[in-house]
């Protein structure tokens, strides 16, 4: 297609943008995905791959419901991706574990779970596991672990395969991928958005901003407030091991290929996606404390990636009032919410409906 005019321009080709572009392009709309190049800050390349329900929204019931709904949409979404792209994203919703190294931490987790359960009228399920019950699930666990929360709704996918499947899928649906477009301005005139930069101007009737940390700046151009800051997570990855871990945990999970991902650090360091020896050492020490069997397992890579954090850590779904047709999406749970973004959020954008779910995630909540 030679034309630079589209029904929808999705800005950002990460997991969030790819899901929405995938959803929009399924509806036979002409969709452009405007993306950065190879070295952009990409949370999508650095994430942990958890489809995670437990703990989320314990203090914000709408988020708890939204997460639960998103996890529920995952099985059919994974199947759909497999059928349409041939890529198996390896969804395994086995239930997941959050382990605590001491009793106080375990008790604090317990209280959050109780609250979550009461928010959702018991729909959110969980079990508290003692060390011996935990050992029945994972024999390799250390006796030093106090216990764990088990949540049957949790699971994990291969996030890199998901990323590839979405890129393949949206292009199969006819969406046009326009990479290496660094946007300088977005102008709204006569009901059309003009996206400008060091490239041929792109025009679209509607625009969806999914540009992660760039969203604050881009949002201002179309009258949407999307407050986001970077929060760095560092991850370690080990050599491939024979399968031994049947459940994903918040700190350690075994990938399809056999390698372990070890993570869950959080730092506010601005736009620095580097790694530091002390955090890497902390992650390694915690992992071996939980799983002594990992003492002699080798780390072959580490990385830092920047989470896209809103002020309260919950997603933002915001339509523009000054520039009708502009939408902003920001969240740090691009994997957990993937199916919901592909389905519900693209439907919201297509129909312009303001359902209950969406109104709970307007950025106006930050201005109270």
């Amino acid at each position: 297609m030679a034309s630079n005019t589209f029904d929808y321009a999705v800005v950002g080709g990460g997991l969030v943008g790819s899901c929405i572009a995938y959803g929009l392009s399924k509806d036979s709309q002409s969709v452009a995905i405007v993306d950065e190049g190879d070295r952009a800050f990409r949370a999508s390349r650095g994430n942990f791959g958890l489809v995670w329900v437990q703990g989320k929204g314990w203090d914000y019931p709408a988020y708890a419901r939204w997460t639960r709904q998103a996890a529920g949409l995952w099985p059919s979404f994974a199947l759909e991706l497999l059928e349409s792209t041939g890529v198996d994203v390896d969804l395994r919703q086995t239930g997941g574990l959050v382990m605590s190294l001491d009793d106080a931490e375990l008790e604090a987790d317990h209280r959050k779970m109780e609250q979550l359960s009461s928010h959702t009228n018991g729909e959110f399920q969980y079990r508290m596991l003692s060390n011996s019950l935990l050992k029945q699930k994972i024999p390799e666990i250390s006796s030093q672990v106090a216990g764990a929360v088990f949540c049957p709704h949790d699971g994990h996918v291969n996030p890199l395969r998901l990323f590839r499947a979405l890129h393949q899928g949206m292009q199969q649906n006819g969406a046009e991928y326009l990479p290496s477009r660094h946007i300088n301005s977005i102008e709204y005139c006569h009901g059309e958005f003009q996206i400008k930069g060091d490239f041929d101007e792109i025009r679209a009737s509607k625009i969806v901003l999914c540009a992660g940390l760039q969203n604050s700046k881009l949002g201002e151009m179309v009258g949407i407030e999307i407050p986001v800051v970077a929060n760095r997570g560092q991850l370690l990855i080990t050599e491939k091991l024979k399968h031994f871990l049947d459940y994903p945990t918040l700190h350690v999970r075994q990938t399809t290929e056999g390698g372990l991902q070890i993570g869950d650090s959080a730092e506010d360091v601005g736009l620095d996606d580097g790694t530091t020896n002390n955090v890497m050492a902390m992650l390694a020490a915690r992992a071996t404390k939980m799983f002594p069997v990992l003492e002699s397992i080798k780390v072959i890579r580490a990385w830092g990636a920047l989470r896209v954090m809103t002020p309260d850590g919950k997603p933002v779904y915001q339509a523009s009032t000054s520039c009708p047709g502009a939408y902003g999406v920001a969240c740090h749970s691009g994997v957990t919410l993937a199916a919901a973004h592909a389905e519900k959020i693209s439907q919201w954008i297509l129909a312009g409906e303001h359902g209950d779910v969406i109104s709970n995630f307007s950025s106006s909540r930050f201005n109270v």
């Binding site: 190049g37 050492a281 071996t288």
Partner: protein
């Protein structure tokens, strides 16, 4: 974090040894970390303790000549830390390394990286079969292990190392089954225009011609302009087929040594956030430095083939220039001394580089190895084919880092050392862009594996006592 050292050198090849020795002569405390157990780098490996009878006759005087350099270093006051596996550095010049199962951290104002080169990947169908080794590996076997092929090997590729290896085997009375040269005819013509400049290095050229003459005299079959190379075999290497001058050849072989030149090992400069530049003449990335070998990151100095491929002579000269620059910064020599001492070195280096232009033009890698056929395994660790990379590139993937996410290429143990060049070149070719535009893999620590236990324990309590 970690022990503060005035000067830290990483790598004990000609560049690092020269720099460390010279700096230590001015009563500066220099620490040299090296992953091998004896100094010399790959080029002079085991030179101070060769286990081969008559090493000068067999391996050549260029090799044994390195002993003087090693001896000078060992006699110097520099603190030598062999067996140190450096797994991380950063722009603050913090160095992390592992030695005898213990972790150590150093910090310095003057970090000199001289980590040398690696074999340029030479992908073709079957290059992953056991029995296919790099020519560099065969040479290391000879120099450091005193081991020679049991079966007559076939040497495939191009570059001076291949001829040198054949010549060394002849000196040992060993058979070489064939030399399959992939140098393209047009490269000889390109090289000719650099010949006048290369005359200063005529000794080396004469040596090369001598090797060729001896090889011919020994009656070794030499196949020229070879392409369509394929290693044959199910579990292990059984043979090789290729076309040369319009004819197909199939040869049985249990050992094939391949070579296509060398490229700088840029993991540490990348971790230190030094700027790189793509050298079209060498078809590889190199690290930017000023003429006194300082990188774009203050206090990080890059010398030898780990910065840019220029060979051992230039590595030594750069080691001296770099040392003088560091000594000036440490106020051990003044500007006047610095100018006086560095000037002749800069002139000498410039002259040496003329020979390099000739060699680069002659031995420029063939396109068949830059962008191999679809079935070729590009990433040996994750077993990703060229076809997969091409498919991803056609989907708009902008560079190697995204390709890594999409295909797992570069995610294995070698961390992309043997697929980076190919992945970038394939994307460039598919999208009709330059490799310089496509870019390179971002590198993350640890660049050498360490266990979770070693990482988690942090700084070892035992101080190094060397």
């Amino acid at each position: 974090m970690g022990e503060k050292c005035p000067v830290v050198v990483v790598g004990a090849g000609p560049a690092g040894l020269t720099a460390a020795t010279l700096i230590s002569q001015y009563d500066v405390d220099v620490t040299l970390l090296d992953d091998q157990l004896s100094p010399g780098g790959q080029i002079y490996r085991q030179v101070s303790d060769s286990k081969i009878a008559n090493p000068e006759t067999v391996l050549g005087a260029d090799y044994t000549g390195g002993k003087a350099l090693v001896d000078r270093f060992l006699e110097s006051s520099a603190r030598y830390v062999p067996g140190a596996s450096v797994w991380g550095v950063n722009r603050k010049r913090e160095v992390s390394y592992l030695r005898n199962d213990a972790s150590f951290f150093l910090q310095t104002d003057h970090l000199i990286l001289s980590v040398g080169c690696q074999e340029r990947p030479m992908p073709f169908p079957g290059w992953q079969l056991p029995g296919v080794l790099t020519a560099g590996a065969a040479q290391i076997m000879l120099k450091s292990q005193a081991m020679a092929p049991e079966k007559a090997p076939i040497l495939v590729g191009s570059g001076p190392l291949l001829l040198l290896l054949a010549w060394q085997y002849l000196n040992l009375g060993l058979k070489v089954k064939a030399i399959v040269e992939t140098t393209q005819t047009q490269h000889y013509f390109h090289a000719l225009k650099h010949l006048p400049g290369a005359i200063v290095g005529r000794q080396q050229l004469v040596k090369g011609l001598k090797f060729l003459k001896d090889i011919r005299a020994a009656g070794i079959a030499v196949y020229k302009g070879a392409s369509e190379i394929r290693a044959l075999g199910d579990q292990v290497l059984e043979g090789i087929c290729f076309s040369s001058r319009g004819k197909q050849h199939t040869l049985n072989a249990e050992l094939v040594f391949i070579h296509q030149g060398v490229t700088p090992q840029l993991q540490l400069p990348k971790l230190a956030e030094c700027e790189l530049e793509y050298l079209v003449s060498q078809k590889c990335w190199s690290a930017k430095t000023d003429q006194f070998c300082e990188s774009t990151v203050e206090g990080v100095h890059l010398i030898g083939d780990g910065q840019q491929i220029n060979g051992a002579e230039v590595a030594e000269i750069s080691g001296q220039i770099c040392a003088l620059n560091v000594l000036k910064k440490l106020k051990r020599i003044d500007q006047e001394d610095f100018d006086r001492l560095s000037k002749p070195l800069l002139v000498k280096k410039k002259r040496q580089l003329k020979l390099r232009q000739f060699l680069d033009a002659l031995y420029t890698p063939s396109d068949i190895f830059i962008t191999p056929s679809d079935e070729t395994m590009v990433c040996r660790c994750e077993e990703v084919s060229a076809a997969t990379i091409r498919e991803i590139a056609r989907g708009g993937c902008q560079g190697p880092n995204q390709a890594k996410s999409f295909s797992r290429c570069g995610m294995g143990h070698c961390q992309g050392r043997f697929c980076e060049a190919t992945v970038s070149a394939l994307i460039a070719k598919e999208q009709d862009r330059s490799v310089a535009d496509i870019g390179f893999y971002r590198v993350r620590p640890p660049i050498r594996p360490l266990t979770l236990g070693q990482l988690g324990r942090g700084q070892s309590d035992d101080r190094e006592t060397n």
